[in-house]
Symmetry: C2
């Protein structure tokens, strides 16, 4: 059963005004972890409103009780990544969030002491170069939306659009860890081999770029090699969640895919910088919907009483698109996707249990993507391939532009919010990326037969 | 053009007798790099005969010129892994190998000084706990044997057993880095979901375990994100090679595979402990065979004049099987595979060029497996699935045992030798693993519907 504590108290406000604004992603009830560079040094931090607590500065501030769990948690981030903190039991990160909440709340006894060190302790987030929050040993991407999977099966003309294994296990593939990047900046259009309109195999800038809106879990404590994690123990191994944009070069993927996605994905994957902790999400847990009566029975190692009771989240997710023309005209980005985590057929606990069921070891900082979170509704289609019915019905923007794929200059921003009556709503920040034109290829742009 | 130097001199012998034995894997011309634990501390080393140079001891021995490239290379391994050395230009590892060859050759001027420190400097390999030679950021597995691919296509009953992309690009998938293990010890039979003989989906110990004989390249210097590596620059990015056994749980793989292999592989992958350097393999380089006239033209970014001239290796590879009964009877392991690197359709330089063609970044210590190195001949089938014609023709051992898959207690040993007239033959050591029975599953062995 989920336990709530003082950090969840909906009455709390912070003396940092931007944390109290309606719709703020990072109120005092959130306090997500991240990393950034400051004065040329990698540091870990905790977001509050439009600011980030610099944990290296905090460690030297004297504001934490020496030897306390909170101080030990803070010390564990000294190398500027969260890996060591993630490897520790939840109570350390929990103690640090509780200590920060006590320092940052409106009626904090130590408010004056903190405010004396504001410049060192609480830089504005927009002044920082954000980094990946940790080193990712392995990145796994799942395929857990039935609607996303069924639609793609229909586009391929399959008699049964759902793979036979879909309802028996959460389908997944190993992703590329080296090409994970934090939100922001350019997403360079990749070169690759694909079939052109005449069916000829060519090599050049990939024409069919897409986004995929996903939620991703960060592994905290790992498991020993050969020792599976039981589904109801999985929560103890998930440190928190971020947004993931699994950028896809569909033309490359369609041609290359024999043993799964490879170069069609590994040119760039974007994650939002702040890890919203499992603890902060506790008030938004919800029970799973009953399995359909004609679904195959759930195997015991994927069934957990606790997971059934609280494996879901009251979480809505969005994607916005802006184009160069829209920005030049001063127009807002257009919301193209509005979906819900309910649209996943499998829970993250089931993904963890399945992933480790063969003895595979997860390590602190590993990333598990949900797969594209598409729903049954048209508005809940979470990639352009689905939004355009595989290109048949182009996406029409308010200024008359149309899209069947992302063009150079197009920018996608993913966002998400957990909301429930009686709790202060929290957000995930944004996962942003803008398509940049392909570089000229060093071996010569024009490919000739050798 | 490959440059040979004094470390390749076939006339050289070592004062360490085991390095001069006929058929020794690690003569003074090889000097491969590895890592091990000694006195509870991770250290890097270089193999010579039945001994390993302890590079931590060497760094403190005064035997290397302070500030020399060799000394800097040695210092770079102080953390007990090779990652930092791999990230340096080839000349550092080359200088260290040359310095070691000068210390270990029969007529070494400093022979007496080295021999005074033999216990510290030159432990026997069999006294050491070997480790993975480096931290692997990402592991990629290719599918580059036409014969392996065609046979599997035929087993599936495909009209065209070769995927359309096979001759246009080296097909690959991302593997799991966390479950890579150094040669030796148990390979625990995994649990997983699969279809039983009645077509029912069940969860239990995987019945159809197989081995796959592969060669794997270790990446040295990486490439910057978005900056592809040209095929003829790839050699500068490959530090060396080891053997890889890509253990496969075929029953799991057949059921799960929608987006490529996942739990059917990630329970354990074994690599041989010693990295045979690209430099040591230089005498064994060979030109590629001409492409078949009906093959599609090779795209320019996969064609390199240097790669065409020396992208191959005079390298034979073997797999031996022993069973519990064979060992109890004191019988030798049975050679079940004898193949050659010629059986790959793509070179490692082409794999590197393809892998980075979309801008994906490789990092020092990344591992690229060749895929199963099966040839056209029956003897050159490099996994049990092929050796048994997908189970139709069981493998018959001299003692009357038969196999269509690996059973508990079965042990596979992979080995390889580079041989060419005029050069001292070098070996790779062994890649060994023994199947151990599945652990009882924590959630309950008997799977019930929930």
């Amino acid at each position: 059963m989920t336990v709530l504590n003082a950090t969840h108290d909906p009455a709390r406000r912070s003396w940092i005004d931007s944390a109290n604004l309606p719709g703020a992603d990072f109120p005092i009830q959130n306090l997500p972890f991240g990393a950034f560079e400051r004065d040329g040094v990698a540091r870990a931090g905790v977001a509050i409103g439009e600011h980030a607590v610099d944990l290296q500065a905090l460690a030297g501030s004297g504001l934490l009780d020496a030897g306390s769990d909170a101080a030990l948690a803070c010390e564990a981030t000294r190398d500027g990544t969260l890996n060591r903190l993630m490897a520790m039991p939840h109570r350390y990160a929990s103690a640090l969030r509780a200590a920060l909440a006590d320092l940052l709340k409106s009626d904090a006894p130590q408010r004056a002491r903190v405010q004396q060190q504001t410049d060192a302790l609480l830089p504005r987030i927009d002044s920082l170069a954000l980094r990946l929050p940790c080193e990712v040993g392995d990145y796994t991407d799942f395929l857990t939306s039935l609607h996303h999977t069924e639609r793609h099966g229909r586009y391929k003309g399959l008699a049964d659009p759902l793979p036979p294994a879909f309802k028996s296990l959460p389908i997944a593939y190993h992703g590329r860890a080296s090409s994970l990047r934090v939100s922001g900046g350019d997403v360079r259009r990749p070169h690759g081999q694909y079939r052109d309109a005449n069916g000829q195999i060519v090599f050049g800038p990939a024409p069919a770029l897409d986004f995929e809106l996903e939620l991703a879990a960060w592994i905290g404590q790992g498991n020993a090699f050969t020792q599976p994690i039981a589904v109801d123990d999985a929560a103890a191994h998930i440190f928190g969640y971020s947004l993931l944009n699994d950028w896809s070069a569909k033309s490359i993927q369609w041609f290359e895919q024999v043993l799964g996605p490879f170069l069609g994905k590994s040119f760039h994957s974007s994650v939002s910088p702040w890890i919203v902790t499992s603890e902060a999400l506790a008030p938004f847990r919800k029970a799973l919907a009953a399995r359909a009566s004609d679904d195959p029975p759930l195997m015991a190692h994927l069934h957990g009483a606790r997971d059934q009771q609280e494996g879901g989240l009251h979480l809505e997710l969005h994607a916005h698109l802006s184009t160069r023309h829209l920005r030049e005209a001063g127009a807002d980005a257009v919301r193209i996707t509005h979906t819900h985590l309910d649209n996943l057929y499998w829970t993250f606990a089931q993904m963890v249990a399945h992933h480790t069921s063969n003895g595979c070891n997860l390590r602190p900082g590993d990333l598990l993507g949900s797969g594209t979170i598409s729903g049954a509704d048209d508005a809940a289609r979470a990639c352009i391939t689905e939004l355009t019915n595989a290109g048949r019905d182009p996406l029409r923007l308010p200024n008359g532009e149309t899209r069947t794929a992302l063009e150079d200059g197009d920018e996608i921003v993913l966002s998400a919010r957990a909301t429930k009556a009686g709790a202060v709503s929290i957000g995930f920040g944004e996962c942003r990326g803008r398509i940049a034109p392909a570089f000229a290829f060093a071996s010569g742009e024009a490919e000739a037969a050798a």
